[in-house]
Symmetry: C4
Subunit: 230 residues, 4 copies
Amino acid sequence: MLTELRREACEANRKLPEHGLVHLNFGNASALDRQRGIFAIKPSGVDYKELRPAAMVLVDLEGRVVEGKLRPSSDTPTHLELYRKLKSLGGIVHTHSLYATAFAQAGRPIPALGTTHADFFFGEIPVTRALRKKEIAGSYEIETGRVICERFARLDPAEVPAVLVRYHAPFAWGPTVGKAVENAVAVELCAQLAYFTLQLKSASSAIDQTLHARHFRRKHGPEAYYGQPR
Amino acid sequence: MLTELRREACEANRKLPEHGLVHLNFGNASALDRQRGIFAIKPSGVDYKELRPAAMVLVDLEGRVVEGKLRPSSDTPTHLELYRKLKSLGGIVHTHSLYATAFAQAGRPIPALGTTHADFFFGEIPVTRALRKKEIAGSYEIETGRVICERFARLDPAEVPAVLVRYHAPFAWGPTVGKAVENAVAVELCAQLAYFTLQLKSASSAIDQTLHARHFRRKHGPEAYYGQPR
Amino acid sequence: MLTELRREACEANRKLPEHGLVHLNFGNASALDRQRGIFAIKPSGVDYKELRPAAMVLVDLEGRVVEGKLRPSSDTPTHLELYRKLKSLGGIVHTHSLYATAFAQAGRPIPALGTTHADFFFGEIPVTRALRKKEIAGSYEIETGRVICERFARLDPAEVPAVLVRYHAPFAWGPTVGKAVENAVAVELCAQLAYFTLQLKSASSAIDQTLHARHFRRKHGPEAYYGQPR
Amino acid sequence: MLTELRREACEANRKLPEHGLVHLNFGNASALDRQRGIFAIKPSGVDYKELRPAAMVLVDLEGRVVEGKLRPSSDTPTHLELYRKLKSLGGIVHTHSLYATAFAQAGRPIPALGTTHADFFFGEIPVTRALRKKEIAGSYEIETGRVICERFARLDPAEVPAVLVRYHAPFAWGPTVGKAVENAVAVELCAQLAYFTLQLKSASSAIDQTLHARHFRRKHGPEAYYGQPR
């Protein structure tokens, strides 16, 4: 069932360590078939190199495992919450990539300081509020999804396809899980650039808004002219 | 004698440079068979790539070499002291990994700033006091073990499976040497995250205690639900 | 047509990720045959590993594609502008290499702090002014070339073979595209050295001018005595 | 002639990029046969991967090329000066390794902040004074050797086997060129550790002198007990 979805999810998970985004077991990716309302996600605690499409766990949008012998990632309720509330998402990637996680730990958004950032994210990469004690003690992973959605109340997740969960780490997404992986790479790249820039110039002013929009529109939306015509 | 113990110790030592934790010859791992009271440790000054199980030196808990033609690691008395005093230890890893060693040199504990840390260590990774001149001039390596144990007088080494020896470098441990290697990787990862976080926010507040406990308990102890059921 | 030019341009593009200079798709190289007035440039949005000489796009100095089925790099107008105005250029490389891009984002030139820098660049690596809103909304990529040329009004591009475009990233060049790649590597190396040096000594004074000149002249111009006689 | 010396010098040069110590062409190693008064050194401007023992240039202690078709490294006069004045040297390595070069550019010695440093260097790794304009305009490379020797007027090069040349980069040495390579690796490692430590604690106090001596003596001199008996 859903052979292609499993394959995509598996490949995305395997790419995370190849891109240097995960250390130890910190990271997982999922791919959604929105029509069927089912997503394929990494099984919990399994090594990336040993992942096979058949090991992916299939979960429906009610949170029920519909196929798979292994337990799904312990972050599954977060993926579920995001897929339910943010309708444009087709793939989600969670990592503890170094510089992005440092911004999350410092409680600072990743500011838009240059065109590299503007090519991927329209505005800063935001950081959620901290979870409250009651939320932590309750359905912690669902609440993690909820603070992300709360943070995106007035943001378009298609224009800002990533977030930092405070004290935790980044989540990135996209219309497909392949695009979500690319955005996760971009989050870490922009975090590195911002970190070095901030060290060089504490009072670094943000990129000019016109330039920001130009770069984002060059690659996204109806006026995009980057890449080959489709 | 103790073929499996030698094999585990050898593999653990060989993994240290693969994980980027050791530079030059700075690092060693040992594995203990507590029932027999014997541990297998790296021979001193031998290249990691040339290590074979047969080259491991077997030492008993009185500090006597019971098998092995080579001299054991010059840090053997530290391992010995830890195995004697901290009864839950089954494996020990010592490295000079870069960021963790920088914290040790700065005399600063690695603060618990996020969930990555909380997944491995319950509280900060502590730093020992400096050795006194008399201790340095005396049985220096035993004294190194002693200041570690002194620092853990009111800490559970199973909940905080690592320490920074002041002006020196980290030691990590676990119920097995394989787990000790994993903890040594986590020490360096948490040190990197803390370093970047502190640069971004000097007054960075520690992770919320409820969140800290939730992450630690998600992976450790009776209520753990991460990974596959055993 | 222009087989050798395509081959050189292709090889230069493929070397960029090998040198760790590009991340994702951020980077492109071109090679000019000034006699024919044609340059070969990377096609837009094509993976570096899949690049073949036949895929290179040939563009003349009026900006017309003279051969090639793919769309050229979206930065082609910048390359064009530089080739038209700076007559000594035979190759151009654009990257978003990490430390150099951080200097660009911070709006700081890369200062000449040591002999490594002096071996490649006679004076600091300058940063352009920010583009004006009208320039960004207009022919953005041509204007990028124009602010570079504006910045070099009183600089010799053969003595300072690189620039930082403010809020964007570095461009490097040379008499050949092979030399341009080498200069792009040097830009990133000097940016790293300057970054670490500035962290160690905020008020770091620039390298002595006599020493600077000596190192540059040891490798460049009529009195060079580095390397083998030609 | 001197087949073994050429082989050692060649191998040492080839190891420099493998250890990540050289970028582009910045680095060279030489090996001295003090009895014959001849050293083998890297030819200038030749790629490390293409180096063969036969390409090494043999130079006597008067600075005359006694064998070799290629021009020797442009830094040859510096090596020559060091071999002539510092009688315990049997091998010299020059690199522009990143963190050590940053300390040189900042004009700061690498302080002894921990036992990793103490295992290799007895005291800080010193930095020379800047060369005077007359020295730069004169026999620049010989003068580079002279300021190093001037800096070691009251230091034992066997106890501090490395130096930073101000605004330039490190030189390391040893009784053999193999040991010189090891010391060059240690210089960069200690520079990295010191850099991170200084960032964590600006007012970082130096390692206790008793501890410093203990670590150095554990590996060097008559009381050493590290490694296997010889």
